[in-house]
Amino acid sequence: MTAAIVWALLVLGVAAPLLGVVGVLVGADVYDRLHFIGPGSIFGPAALALAIVIDEGPFSQAGLKSIVVAVLLLGLSPVLVSATARAAYVRERGSLALPSTPAETPPE
């Protein structure tokens, strides 16, 4: 039973980043592609760390370090996605300012 759970977690942990790869390759633009980093950085590390924890135990060196890796990736990846989106926007438009909207005309 435990082996089956570990196998299932490994399959999930490998499939999520690979789906992210496919998404990055076929995405329409940079903002579209950024969405596909999410599954690979959330489900991938979490599933693989859980598989290792089930195999080795939560308080073994391998279990603890795999949890640290998963938490690091879970925490840092969104920051990196945000920084990349910001960089792409500034590169495209020259600044972070929103495009100016025409002033509203008062109702007559």
């Binding site: 690979l18 790869v21 060196q61 370090k65 840092l76 990846s77 990349t84 792409a88 590169r91």
Partner: protein
């Protein structure tokens, strides 16, 4: 143990299209591929450490997780104006 080797090999194969894409695409798109590639490389290191039962190798995965983040941030900063 074999399952971890197989998982690492499959993930490693997923890095190849990202490398080709990051070379051929525009710089912002390449940075997206680099970000995902850093995550996948970290996971591969973690899987290989478990597959070989060498506990200290997990440190490589921890360092890779932090450094791929720092590298991605540096690229993003330079990409805004200078690259």
């Amino acid at each position: 143990m074999t399952a971890y080797f197989a998982a690492a090999a499959v993930l490693l194969a997923g890095l190849a299209p990202l490398i080709v894409f990051s070379v051929r695409a525009s710089p912002p798109d390449g940075l997206v591929a680099l970000n995902l590639g850093g995550t996948i490389a970290t996971l591969v290191l973690m899987l290989l450490a478990e597959a070989t039962q060498r506990q200290p190798f997990f440190d490589l995965a921890v360092v890779s997780a932090v450094l791929s983040f720092a590298g991605g941030l540096a690229y993003a900063r330079f990409l805004e104006r200078w690259l």
